[in-house]
Symmetry: C2
Subunit: 220 residues, 2 copies
Amino acid sequence: PKRIAVIGLGTFGSSLANELIEQGAEVIAIDINPELVNNISGKVYNAICFDCTNENQLQGYGIGSLDLAIVAIGENFGNTVIITKILKDLGVRVYSRASNDREERILEAVGADKIYRPEHEQGITRAKEITYSKVREVVPLRSDMELIVTEPGKLMLGMKIRDLDIRRSYGINIAFFGKMKENGEHDYRIPNPEDVLNEGDLLWLIGSNDHIKKFLERPS
Amino acid sequence: PKRIAVIGLGTFGSSLANELIEQGAEVIAIDINPELVNNISGKVYNAICFDCTNENQLQGYGIGSLDLAIVAIGENFGNTVIITKILKDLGVRVYSRASNDREERILEAVGADKIYRPEHEQGITRAKEITYSKVREVVPLRSDMELIVTEPGKLMLGMKIRDLDIRRSYGINIAFFGKMKENGEHDYRIPNPEDVLNEGDLLWLIGSNDHIKKFLERPS
Ligand SMILES: Nc1ncnc2c1ncn2[C@@H]1O[C@H](COP(=O)(O)OP(=O)(O)OP(=O)(O)O)[C@@H](O)[C@H]1O
Ligand SMILES: Nc1ncnc2c1ncn2[C@@H]1O[C@H](COP(=O)(O)OP(=O)(O)OP(=O)(O)O)[C@@H](O)[C@H]1O
């Protein structure tokens, strides 16, 4: 399992740490605030309370043997930069959190291996979800690709998957389709060409942003 | 176009507002802090500076004619609850931001139509991305489904898509495959049964969390 330090146990840091534990990682959870350290100490490999801008303490806790350190501090950017620099100088792989473009560039300049901007990412995702009306969900993916979950247009109902011709006309793939029931259960399945699209079915489409946009803006 | 008010122009609120504008919505951006209102006033339909817990002002600005209001305030939960309640009493559809479970339940109790927990969502997403090693990216989707972008296992190289038997063995679909080049360009395409998987190709797989997990934990 990977040994990963999470520094800063605010909402982002603690969710990240908790999910890493779920996924079987060895998590070292660190915060200057003892209450936050106590909250997580039952679940983690190690929970430590100290100020991470203190290089001696950071070294003392064996931070050199990590697979990865994540600086999840949000508001105190000064601390984020300092801690990132200390860890990079110790040869640790570091992912750090930024609140805007400038902070992102500063962290890259001091060597952060990856930058997280959680609120920014979510703002974009949720805005796309809101804007399309038949679309229940938009999920931005890497390389300008996206997945959408959408109700089919009226003209599509009763048609076979192969006759929809979505692949050929729009270059997008139907990853899954099926119904979502009231109780949260669903019957999503990989589409076969002979399957028929019915009222209540949802389509999971995946393709480039441009292709998805063309599909959504098609004359209905 | 939809008329949407975004209340609270921190990192989440301003990213949300900016992307809504990108997507063609009529955005009314509101914050008690004049500097944040000024920053966005060039781009939005309307940018207003006032304290949204003031019900008279909220009504005065025609908030009743909105398609949707989003309360994107983060730290001051008291304000979030009050503003959510005022808007619900005015008959507006409201999405509100929470920082934890309890806040989420409180907002549901006062009638919020949807709850956002941006840092929490991102913590989970990033943790999954980190934990799988061949996996370049994990994207959690609704209904316990997920998409992953992964390098193929060594045993898969040189095989045809149809012989991989991923659909039948694991119930997951190959949405796209292809190479990502250095300059960020890619040749991702919808797989045909006769396509051959080569060194450098990435697979975009989509399926239920359990099926993806079984696939990733298969004996290699
Ligand atoms: N020097 C430091 N050493 C260790 N922990 C620190 C240090 N500075 C800040 N932290 C911790 O980082 C955590 C998260 O940072 P902060 O509260 O500034 O961000 P936030 O934006 O509120 O976080 P979130 O949005 O994730 O809730 C806090 O719990 C804080 O105690
Ligand atoms: N009563 C209010 N009326 C209007 N705006 C408000 C009110 N209360 C807070 N805000 C604004 O909401 C914005 C975001 O809230 P806040 O700064 O508390 O959250 P945050 O966690 O720092 O946000 P983010 O994580 O998105 O950066 C702030 O710009 C603040 O001025």
